[in-house]
Protein backbone atom coordinates (compact mmCIF):
# COMPACT_ATOMS: atom_id res chain seq x y z
CA UNK A 1 0.00 0.00 0.00
CA UNK A 2 1.94 2.97 -1.29
CA UNK A 3 -0.63 5.41 0.06
CA UNK A 4 -0.13 4.13 3.60
CA UNK A 5 3.64 4.47 3.39
CA UNK A 6 3.50 7.92 1.80
CA UNK A 7 0.90 9.14 4.31
CA UNK A 8 2.83 7.90 7.31
CA UNK A 9 6.13 9.32 6.09
CA UNK A 10 4.46 12.68 5.49
CA UNK A 11 2.79 12.68 8.91
CA UNK A 12 5.99 11.78 10.71
CA UNK A 13 7.71 14.68 8.99
CA UNK A 14 5.47 17.22 10.72
CA UNK A 15 7.01 18.93 13.73
CA UNK A 16 5.07 17.86 16.81
CA UNK A 17 4.38 14.33 15.61
CA UNK A 18 6.46 11.85 17.60
CA UNK A 19 5.53 8.52 16.04
CA UNK A 20 2.76 6.39 14.63
CA UNK A 21 0.67 4.59 17.26
CA UNK A 22 -0.65 1.12 16.51
CA UNK A 23 -3.38 1.37 19.15
CA UNK A 24 -1.54 -0.84 21.59
CA UNK A 25 -2.78 -4.08 20.07
CA UNK A 26 -1.82 -3.52 16.46
CA UNK A 27 -5.30 -2.59 15.30
CA UNK A 28 -4.04 0.64 13.75
CA UNK A 29 -1.31 -0.67 11.52
CA UNK A 30 -0.89 -1.60 7.90
CA UNK A 31 1.20 -4.50 6.69
CA UNK A 32 3.15 -3.74 3.54
CA UNK A 33 4.76 -6.99 2.55
CA UNK A 34 6.71 -8.07 5.61
CA UNK A 35 6.90 -4.54 6.95
CA UNK A 36 4.29 -3.20 9.36
CA UNK A 37 3.49 0.50 9.37
CA UNK A 38 2.21 1.44 12.83
CA UNK A 39 -0.31 4.27 12.98
CA UNK A 40 -1.81 4.22 9.51
CA UNK A 41 -4.88 2.47 8.15
CA UNK A 42 -5.90 2.77 4.52
CA UNK A 43 -9.36 1.68 3.42
CA UNK A 44 -11.03 1.54 0.02
CA UNK A 45 -13.78 4.08 -0.55
CA UNK A 46 -16.34 4.65 -3.27
CA UNK A 47 -15.06 5.86 -6.61
CA UNK A 48 -11.75 4.04 -6.42
CA UNK A 49 -10.34 6.25 -3.70
CA UNK A 50 -8.72 5.27 -0.44
CA UNK A 51 -9.12 6.92 2.93
CA UNK A 52 -6.00 7.30 5.03
CA UNK A 53 -6.38 7.38 8.79
CA UNK A 54 -3.38 8.34 10.87
CA UNK A 55 -3.09 7.37 14.56
CA UNK A 56 -0.33 9.32 16.19
CA UNK A 57 1.63 10.08 19.30
CA UNK A 58 2.14 13.82 19.48
CA UNK A 59 4.41 16.08 21.44
CA UNK A 60 2.88 18.33 24.06
CA UNK A 61 1.61 20.90 21.56
CA UNK A 62 -1.81 22.26 20.59
CA UNK A 63 -3.48 19.36 18.84
CA UNK A 64 -5.94 21.15 16.63
CA UNK A 65 -3.35 23.05 14.55
CA UNK A 66 -1.13 19.99 14.57
CA UNK A 67 -3.95 17.88 13.17
CA UNK A 68 -4.51 20.37 10.39
CA UNK A 69 -0.79 20.44 9.57
CA UNK A 70 -0.70 16.64 9.47
CA UNK A 71 -3.64 16.50 7.09
CA UNK A 72 -2.04 19.05 4.78
CA UNK A 73 1.28 17.22 4.89
CA UNK A 74 -0.37 13.90 4.09
CA UNK A 75 -2.21 15.35 1.12
CA UNK A 76 1.05 16.90 -0.11
CA UNK A 77 3.08 13.75 0.54
CA UNK A 78 0.66 11.41 -1.17
CA UNK A 79 0.40 13.88 -4.03
CA UNK A 80 4.18 13.96 -4.37
CA UNK A 81 4.10 10.18 -4.68
CA UNK A 82 1.75 10.60 -7.64
CA UNK A 83 -1.25 9.16 -5.84
CA UNK A 84 -3.35 12.27 -5.26
CA UNK A 85 -6.16 10.94 -7.47
CA UNK A 86 -6.44 7.87 -5.24
CA UNK A 87 -6.50 9.70 -1.92
CA UNK A 88 -9.85 10.16 -0.22
CA UNK A 89 -10.52 11.54 3.29
CA UNK A 90 -7.55 11.90 5.61
CA UNK A 91 -8.32 11.28 9.26
CA UNK A 92 -6.02 12.17 12.11
CA UNK A 93 -6.44 10.77 15.62
CA UNK A 94 -4.10 11.49 18.50
CA UNK A 95 -3.83 8.46 20.72
CA UNK A 96 -1.19 9.74 23.12
CA UNK A 97 1.04 12.68 23.85
CA UNK A 98 4.61 12.54 24.97
CA UNK A 99 5.83 14.98 27.57
CA UNK A 100 9.34 16.34 27.20
CA UNK A 101 11.94 14.82 29.53
CA UNK A 102 12.34 18.04 31.51
CA UNK A 103 8.58 18.44 32.04
CA UNK A 104 7.74 18.57 35.78
Amino acid sequence: MRIAAAALVAALGVAGVVRGHDGGDGRYATAVGEEVLPGVVVAAQRGGRYSADLYLTAALVPLRPLGDRVREAVVRGVGAAGLEQALGPVGVTFLSVEKPVDHP
Binding site: L60, P89, V92, T93
Partner: protein, 196 residues
Protein backbone atom coordinates in the same frame (compact mmCIF):
# COMPACT_ATOMS: atom_id res chain seq x y z
CA UNK B 1 -21.99 -2.91 24.88
CA UNK B 2 -20.07 -1.07 27.59
CA UNK B 3 -22.69 -2.22 30.09
CA UNK B 4 -22.37 -5.80 28.89
CA UNK B 5 -18.60 -5.71 29.27
CA UNK B 6 -18.99 -4.34 32.78
CA UNK B 7 -21.51 -7.09 33.63
CA UNK B 8 -19.16 -9.75 32.27
CA UNK B 9 -16.28 -8.40 34.32
CA UNK B 10 -18.32 -8.22 37.51
CA UNK B 11 -19.74 -11.69 36.89
CA UNK B 12 -16.30 -13.13 36.19
CA UNK B 13 -15.02 -11.62 39.42
CA UNK B 14 -17.97 -12.96 41.43
CA UNK B 15 -17.64 -16.43 39.94
CA UNK B 16 -13.90 -16.52 40.61
CA UNK B 17 -14.47 -15.32 44.16
CA UNK B 18 -17.15 -17.98 44.70
CA UNK B 19 -14.83 -20.64 43.29
CA UNK B 20 -12.02 -19.53 45.55
CA UNK B 21 -14.29 -19.57 48.60
CA UNK B 22 -15.73 -22.95 47.65
CA UNK B 23 -12.23 -24.34 47.20
CA UNK B 24 -11.17 -23.01 50.57
CA UNK B 25 -14.29 -24.46 52.21
CA UNK B 26 -13.77 -27.88 50.62
CA UNK B 27 -10.14 -27.87 51.70
CA UNK B 28 -11.09 -26.94 55.22
CA UNK B 29 -13.88 -29.50 55.51
CA UNK B 30 -11.77 -32.20 53.92
CA UNK B 31 -9.31 -32.03 56.75
CA UNK B 32 -11.78 -33.94 58.88
CA UNK B 33 -12.82 -37.45 57.94
CA UNK B 34 -16.06 -39.23 58.79
CA UNK B 35 -19.61 -38.27 58.01
CA UNK B 36 -20.40 -36.03 60.94
CA UNK B 37 -19.12 -32.73 62.19
CA UNK B 38 -16.71 -30.88 59.93
CA UNK B 39 -16.58 -33.22 56.92
CA UNK B 40 -17.53 -33.21 53.27
CA UNK B 41 -20.68 -35.32 53.77
CA UNK B 42 -21.96 -33.05 56.51
CA UNK B 43 -21.11 -29.96 54.42
CA UNK B 44 -23.19 -31.36 51.58
CA UNK B 45 -25.96 -32.05 54.05
CA UNK B 46 -25.64 -28.56 55.47
CA UNK B 47 -26.10 -26.80 52.15
CA UNK B 48 -28.88 -29.20 51.14
CA UNK B 49 -27.09 -30.93 48.27
CA UNK B 50 -29.03 -34.22 48.56
CA UNK B 51 -32.36 -32.37 48.46
CA UNK B 52 -31.11 -30.20 45.60
CA UNK B 53 -29.97 -33.29 43.72
CA UNK B 54 -33.40 -34.87 44.20
CA UNK B 55 -35.17 -31.70 43.04
CA UNK B 56 -32.93 -31.45 39.97
CA UNK B 57 -33.52 -35.11 39.12
CA UNK B 58 -37.28 -34.60 39.28
CA UNK B 59 -37.03 -31.42 37.19
CA UNK B 60 -34.93 -33.10 34.49
CA UNK B 61 -37.20 -36.14 34.47
CA UNK B 62 -40.16 -33.82 33.97
CA UNK B 63 -38.39 -32.10 31.10
CA UNK B 64 -37.56 -35.40 29.43
CA UNK B 65 -41.09 -36.69 29.87
CA UNK B 66 -43.49 -37.02 26.97
CA UNK B 67 -45.92 -34.36 28.17
CA UNK B 68 -46.16 -30.78 26.90
CA UNK B 69 -43.31 -28.49 27.87
CA UNK B 70 -44.20 -26.06 30.61
CA UNK B 71 -44.23 -22.47 29.28
CA UNK B 72 -42.27 -21.24 32.29
CA UNK B 73 -39.53 -23.81 31.74
CA UNK B 74 -39.37 -22.98 28.05
CA UNK B 75 -39.10 -19.28 28.85
CA UNK B 76 -36.41 -19.90 31.46
CA UNK B 77 -34.45 -21.97 28.96
CA UNK B 78 -34.75 -19.32 26.27
CA UNK B 79 -33.74 -16.66 28.80
CA UNK B 80 -30.68 -18.65 29.82
CA UNK B 81 -29.64 -19.06 26.17
CA UNK B 82 -30.15 -15.34 25.54
CA UNK B 83 -28.19 -14.38 28.65
CA UNK B 84 -25.36 -16.70 27.64
CA UNK B 85 -25.27 -15.22 24.14
CA UNK B 86 -25.21 -11.68 25.52
CA UNK B 87 -22.42 -12.51 27.95
CA UNK B 88 -20.37 -14.09 25.17
CA UNK B 89 -21.00 -11.03 22.98
CA UNK B 90 -19.92 -8.76 25.84
CA UNK B 91 -16.76 -10.80 26.34
CA UNK B 92 -15.62 -11.12 22.74
CA UNK B 93 -16.75 -7.84 21.19
CA UNK B 94 -13.84 -5.42 21.12
CA UNK B 95 -14.35 -2.24 23.10
CA UNK B 96 -15.18 0.78 21.01
CA UNK B 97 -12.71 3.58 21.40
CA UNK B 98 -14.18 6.65 23.02
CA UNK B 99 -12.69 9.48 21.07
CA UNK B 100 -13.26 13.17 21.23
CA UNK B 101 -14.04 14.54 17.82
CA UNK B 102 -12.55 17.84 16.77
CA UNK B 103 -13.67 17.91 13.23
CA UNK B 104 -15.79 15.54 11.19
CA UNK B 105 -15.47 17.14 7.78
CA UNK B 106 -15.87 15.34 4.49
CA UNK B 107 -12.14 15.55 3.86
CA UNK B 108 -11.43 13.58 7.02
CA UNK B 109 -11.98 13.47 10.76
CA UNK B 110 -9.78 14.92 13.45
CA UNK B 111 -10.03 13.27 16.86
CA UNK B 112 -8.14 12.39 20.00
CA UNK B 113 -8.27 9.86 22.79
CA UNK B 114 -9.21 11.06 26.25
CA UNK B 115 -5.80 10.35 27.78
CA UNK B 116 -3.71 12.72 25.65
CA UNK B 117 -6.30 15.41 26.18
CA UNK B 118 -6.12 14.86 29.93
CA UNK B 119 -2.34 15.03 29.73
CA UNK B 120 -2.58 18.27 27.78
CA UNK B 121 -5.06 19.65 30.29
CA UNK B 122 -2.66 18.82 33.12
CA UNK B 123 0.26 20.40 31.33
CA UNK B 124 -1.72 23.56 30.61
CA UNK B 125 -3.20 23.84 34.10
CA UNK B 126 0.20 23.35 35.73
CA UNK B 127 1.29 26.62 34.14
CA UNK B 128 -1.38 28.60 35.97
CA UNK B 129 -0.12 30.82 38.74
CA UNK B 130 -0.49 29.37 42.22
CA UNK B 131 -0.84 25.76 41.04
CA UNK B 132 1.47 23.11 42.44
CA UNK B 133 -0.03 19.88 41.11
CA UNK B 134 -2.85 18.89 38.79
CA UNK B 135 -4.93 15.86 37.99
CA UNK B 136 -7.16 16.05 34.93
CA UNK B 137 -9.79 13.78 33.47
CA UNK B 138 -11.69 14.09 30.21
CA UNK B 139 -15.11 12.63 29.51
CA UNK B 140 -16.49 12.82 25.99
CA UNK B 141 -20.05 13.94 25.47
CA UNK B 142 -22.63 11.78 23.76
CA UNK B 143 -22.36 13.55 20.44
CA UNK B 144 -19.70 16.27 20.49
CA UNK B 145 -17.54 17.97 23.07
CA UNK B 146 -17.39 16.76 26.63
CA UNK B 147 -16.13 17.74 30.02
CA UNK B 148 -12.63 18.21 31.41
CA UNK B 149 -12.37 17.93 35.17
CA UNK B 150 -9.27 19.44 36.72
CA UNK B 151 -8.37 18.97 40.37
CA UNK B 152 -5.49 21.26 41.28
CA UNK B 153 -3.40 21.79 44.37
CA UNK B 154 -2.69 25.47 45.03
CA UNK B 155 -0.31 27.32 47.26
CA UNK B 156 -1.65 28.52 50.61
CA UNK B 157 -1.50 32.27 49.88
CA UNK B 158 -3.26 32.01 46.53
CA UNK B 159 -7.02 32.50 46.40
CA UNK B 160 -9.31 29.79 45.11
CA UNK B 161 -11.08 32.14 42.75
CA UNK B 162 -7.87 33.47 41.20
CA UNK B 163 -6.43 30.00 40.71
CA UNK B 164 -9.67 28.72 39.15
CA UNK B 165 -9.71 31.70 36.79
CA UNK B 166 -6.05 31.17 35.89
CA UNK B 167 -6.61 27.48 35.20
CA UNK B 168 -9.69 28.28 33.12
CA UNK B 169 -7.65 30.67 30.98
CA UNK B 170 -4.77 28.22 30.73
CA UNK B 171 -7.13 25.50 29.51
CA UNK B 172 -8.64 27.70 26.84
CA UNK B 173 -6.47 26.40 23.95
CA UNK B 174 -7.76 22.93 24.74
CA UNK B 175 -11.35 23.49 25.79
CA UNK B 176 -12.32 25.79 22.95
CA UNK B 177 -11.31 23.68 19.92
CA UNK B 178 -12.52 20.43 21.48
CA UNK B 179 -15.74 21.92 22.83
CA UNK B 180 -14.87 20.80 26.35
CA UNK B 181 -16.60 22.25 29.36
CA UNK B 182 -14.11 22.82 32.18
CA UNK B 183 -14.86 21.82 35.75
CA UNK B 184 -12.15 23.08 38.07
CA UNK B 185 -11.62 22.16 41.70
CA UNK B 186 -8.74 23.38 43.85
CA UNK B 187 -7.44 22.55 47.28
CA UNK B 188 -4.54 23.85 49.30
CA UNK B 189 -1.44 21.76 48.65
CA UNK B 190 -0.19 19.49 51.38
CA UNK B 191 3.42 19.66 52.48
CA UNK B 192 5.80 18.17 49.97
CA UNK B 193 3.93 19.51 46.95
CA UNK B 194 5.82 21.11 44.11
CA UNK B 195 6.74 24.70 44.84
CA UNK B 196 6.05 27.14 42.05
Amino acid sequence: MILLRAVVRVLAFVVLLALALAGAAVALFSIQGGTTGLSIPSLAELIGLPELGGTLDRFLAGLEGSGAIDALEALAGAGAVLLGALLIAGAVTPARERLLSLDDAEEGALAARRRPLAQLASALAERAEGVTAVKARVRPGRRRGGRVTVVADRTRPSSKRDVCAAIGSALDPLTRPFGLKPKIKTKVAQRGGRVQ
